[in-house]
Assembly symmetry: none
Homo-oligomer: 248 residues x 2
DNA sequence: GTAAAATATACCAATTCTGAACCAAAACAC
DNA sequence: GTGTTTTGGTTCAGAATTGGTATATTTTAC
């Protein structure tokens, strides 16, 4: 499987992460972090081949040497294996912590949406109230990157997760953020990946992105009720898309 | 990409994020304090590279010399390491392993209530829809035991947690149940137990138990809207009790 | 007024990034 | 099989970035 991830520089953990500013925002280490995160969160799975170094370089808008430096470090960490003439392959057997491991097996897609229905509207309410100007700037960046990812499903999935996590961050509640991160980790796992392939057509991606932008506008205007309604619509759409794909 | 970190993720929503760019406090020592706080509170984590001195200077609207003076002091404190040609890196190792322990330290009582406001109403909705007869019987037993515990604060706290967990069980959603268990775990920690001592008078216990029973009745009658309203009242009461105890 | 602090500017040295070329191994097309 | 294409592996010189240092001027504090 050829997995595409679109570029960019811009990170966190890490992140993460104000401009007091971002850490590791330049260079090979930033790229290493991004790729590692993509691998450990399940955007790539064991055996997937990464893009060729030359394409990664173009995608990250950096030199091939820089990409190579990042990949070399990932190889030393044992996260990837590289073979001349063949490519760079993910070598990472995902092992979730116990409680989540169990969950991942026993949770149906609808139950996941259900949990999001429980948490996200209230989080959105808090976000609309508490988001700082800086939060909004971060979110703006993510939206632009989402728009830019076109029909690249993997890039969209990763960024969509980051977007919703950033939303949770705006709520200024570490426990709720923690809930969100759990949701994201489950979302990025195997059975969901398959689902994603079914559902995410370019048209759907565009539709989701339109909702992201509307949500951002509502947050920026401190329109609490509006923002909550939009996130409900967003989840409703995700739910109906899911049911549609499931029954087809 | 520049990772933007929202600063006050767990701190009180007071000055921290405002101070970051506040023009009010000039001087190297002020900048040093801000950076140190950013590091020790986890905005930057171990190994992260700070922005280049020149960019920090611009960001703080100050001269590079001033930034350097602040960084030098941080270096003397051992909080950062600087390498010519490379950058300034955070050197701060603190305990991080148990994510929940982490939360327990950084979560304010109000933030916990906030999280419950996010999750419990929807869970109650699902519970009202999905609860089986067997669930209701279990809940009935818990209510009886709650009634029986009189003014025993510890017993009440424990059973109250079980009651809410049973409620979550009725929702038939393992992820939401997991969220609840996390909430309960935090509730049972030291600082919360102390809080309980303040709040839980026999009168309050009786009031909570009355709400438990009303909630049970609504569930038994499949009165979804009613059950949701009762849990909201329940949380609202818990919140105002908390605020009351806090201000006294 | 004086001294300390902050600013502004220029240059140096260490490190990293870039851009390019070429090689070797694997995959592919025929 | 043969030849072509793709892909990682290697090397190198020069540009760009970044902390380190020095000096002079301006502002602030007392």
């Amino acid at each position: 499987m050829r997995v595409e991830i679109s570029f960019p520089m811009n990170a966190k953990p890490d992140s993460s992460s104000v401009e007091l500013h971002g850490a590791a925002s330049h260079g090979a280490s930033a790229i290493k972090s991004k790729l590692r995160r993509a691998i450990t969160t399940g955007v790539y799975t064991h055996g997937d081949r990464l893009l060729p170094e030359r394409e990664l370089a173009e995608s990250f808008k950096t030199a091939r040497n820089t990409i190579r430096s990042a990949l070399q470090q990932l190889e030393e960490e044992g996260l990837v294996v590289r073979r001349a003439g063949s490519g760079t392959f993910v070598n990472y057997i995902d092992k979730l912590p116990d409680p989540l491991m169990d969950l991942n097996d026993s949770l149906s897609p609808l139950q996941l949406i259900e949990a999001r229905f429980a948490v996200e509207p209230y989080v959105t309410r808090l976000a609309a109230i508490n988001a700082t100007q800086h939060d909004l700037e971060n979110m703006q960046v993510l939206i632009n990157r989402l728009d830019a990812c076109g029909d690249d499903k993997d890039a969209f999935t990763l960024l969509d997760g980051e977007f919703h996590e950033q939303l949770a961050r705006c709520a200024r509640n570490p426990l709720l953020l923690n809930f969100f991160q759990q949701i994201n980790r489950i979302r990025s796992h195997a059975q969901w990946r398959a689902m994603k392939e079914e559902i995410l057509t370019p048209v759907q991606i565009a539709a989701y992105n339109a909702q992201h932008r509307k949500l951002f506008d509502a947050l920026a205007q401190r329109n609490v009720a509006g923002a909550v309604q939009i996130i409900r619509d967003h989840l409703e759409k995700a739910k109906s898309d899911l049911v549609g794909a499931d029954s087809s």
